[in-house]
């Protein structure tokens, strides 16, 4: 019931924030209407970071507590993170073509490290399918999730460390805290879209976690079923073996 309310609130906030960002906030003086892509690009990138950070922390928690619920949190965040990373890349490409003149440039460190981030977590999801044992899978995935998380700060600070097409960080940059790069209506629109996307993310996380738990329960029942069936076969085979001797 609570997650249903959260879903409705998230949808309402998203609609209001989207209408504001698309039709109310004025267009940028230099970039024109193409700048409106920032309002989906930045929230998607933020949620990619958040998701993969949660995957790493939940994996670390699993290695410490050996609780499969933490593995369910990790896989849920990873799947949702992959989706938001793909959205960030797509919206960035759509923004890049009218502003930079190219959809993509492999020489740009932000673009390349973000593509690597996507590949790492698609790999994380595929890696989980290599074994049926839930604890072995959770432990191996936790290690992969932790190693992959090293790329998160590299993606974020790549624009500060190396030169490329991409602008410097919108948030968490000392320069932009003292000298805001955008007028107040732009910043309000961006913050409201980030809030709306974060609410949607929270709702998706709850639902995906519920699915992961249900899948684990089904997997456990199927395993018990196979063990019980094997015992039946063993018991049924015993008299025949005895008669044959």
């Amino acid at each position: 019931m609570r997650s249903r309310v959260l879903g409705l609130v998230a949808l309402l906030v998203l609609v209001i924030a989207a209408v504001n960002a698309l039709f109310v906030v004025p267009s940028d003086l230099n970039q024109g209407d193409a700048q409106r892509l920032m309002y989906v690009h930045v929230p998607s990138a933020w949620l990619a970071y958040l998701s993969f950070g949660v995957t790493a922390l939940a994996g670390l928690g699993y290695l410490w507590k050996r609780d499969l619920r933490l593995d369910a949190v990790a896989v849920s965040a990873a799947e949702i993170g992959v989706m938001f990373t793909a959205f960030a890349i797509w919206a960035g490409m759509m923004w890049g073509q009218p502003v930079w003149g190219v959809f993509w440039q492999w020489e740009d460190p932000r673009l390349t490290t973000t593509a690597l981030l996507l590949a790492l977590y698609v790999g994380y999801l595929l890696f989980r399918r290599l074994t049926d044992d839930p604890h072995r899978r959770a432990a191996r995935a936790a290690v992969v999730g932790l190693v992959s998380a090293v790329d998160i700060p590299i993606v974020h600070f790549s624009v500060e460390w190396w030169r490329g097409l991409h602008q410097t960080a919108t948030f968490l940059s000392p320069d932009t805290i003292l000298n805001p790069p955008a007028p107040v209506p732009f910043r309000i629109a961006l913050m409201s879209m980030i809030a709306a996307f974060t609410l949607v993310w929270a709702w998706l996380m709850i639902r995906r976690y519920q699915l992961a738990r249900a899948d684990m329960e089904l997997e456990e029942r199927a395993r018990r079923s196979r063990v019980a069936a094997a015992r039946h076969v063993a018991i049924a085979a015993t008299p025949a073996e005895e008669a044959g001797r």
Binding site: L22, A34, M83, M94, L204, R207, L218, R224, S225, A228
Partner: protein
């Protein structure tokens, strides 16, 4: 393509993708819960193996 064309392509894929993922997720969850409910009586039966839900 105009600026609005790129905006429509960017926003459309992101919001459309979010909606599609949400609907698919709800369907996957409903399917998993139905399989769990289906498997429950068999799993509780004494001496009988639970039905394989895979």
């Amino acid at each position: 393509m105009s600026d609005w064309g790129f905006v429509a392509a960017g926003w459309g894929v992101v919001l459309g993708g979010l909606g599609l993922y949400a609907v698919t997720l709800l369907r996957r969850l409903a399917s998993a819960r139905a399989a769990l409910a289906d498997a429950t009586p068999a799993a509780g039966a004494v001496g009988e193996p639970a039905r394989d839900t895979e």
